[in-house]
Symmetry: C3
């Protein structure tokens, strides 16, 4: 098994937002050898996540953010003093890694799918690590 | 690393339902060489997901559907004009891929576990892509 | 591709709790050859899950448990006779497996990240299966 690896950074601008990182991921892969294989993406932060969802209509990512805020209780008597427990809960609900197949050097995504970095406690500078298995 | 790949389709019949696809997955693998390894399953749709849960009592999958509908707000003033924003939120909560170990040609699942396609905006024709790494 | 595999058990003590299993995972890997690669962790139970979140302040894991209980309806008229449908819903929300990169024999986790076994219907004896791909 060959493993290529790398990282990229991004700066989030809102407290809760989904940022389309598909182009950043594709750029990282283009700069490396890019055979068929599996791409693993990892978010090393505890108040953020990674998700795949619709990228065509920007209203969808806004609705996902609004929906998550509506369903995760904000006024629960949480114990963690930093006040960002809802962000930690959203991180567990969303998940911290993604695996995506590659075929002929391209990500195998559905027609409407894009890769999103899920910021739940921004704005912050964030990182995404990747590994390409082939 | 050897990678075998394939796809199968399924037709969902309800708006929100969990469909046991374990037999379809096993059939796909049986038609191919099937060493030990890791199986990767991917759902290319943005209003559906994949999950592992109990398959013995059909009431469990119904309760999961009912519970997801109860917790994701349906009457929030969503912006996406198609009206299926709750389905997109459920897709992010559920996740779009699964990884399952293989041992001697069989899926390594717990005693009560089965693999489910999670339809959140049906009925539709859907697809599942798979890759077997060994 | 080389695949090493193993399992470990743990005993949970509460009905809903997050248990830091990072040290158990590291111990399992130390007893085996441990090159760079990808570690796959799998939970074979249908009322439990695996998640990565903050390990520094124990209040965070308690807040995640409290938050999940607040958002998953407990008094919904569920059909499953065992009465643990909320635990099955939490299992689907949390996810049953994790993939974590290894580098020079160490888990690639963010500064505050730890690996947690998520018990949603304890106390019980539980198992975690792992595979190391390199």
């Amino acid at each position: 098994m060959d493993i290529l690896s790398g990282s990229f950074s991004l700066t989030t601008s809102g407290r809760i937002e989904l940022i389309d990182i598909t182009a950043k991921v594709e750029k990282s892969l283009k700069e490396n050898t890019c055979p068929d294989g599996l791409l693993y993406l990892f978010n090393p932060h505890t108040t953020a996540g990674l998700t795949i969802n619709e990228g065509a209509d920007p209203a969808v990512r806004q609705d996902i953010c609004d929906g998550l805020q509506a369903l995760v209780p904000a006024d629960y008597p949480f114990r963690h003093a930093e006040g960002n427990s809802p962000a930690h809960i959203m991180a567990t609900l969303c998940g911290s890694s993604l695996t995506i197949a590659m075929s002929e050097g391209r990500l195998v995504l559905g027609r409407w799918q894009r890769i999103f970095f899920s910021e739940f406690d921004g704005p912050r500078q964030r990182f995404v690590h990747w590994r390409l298995l082939s």
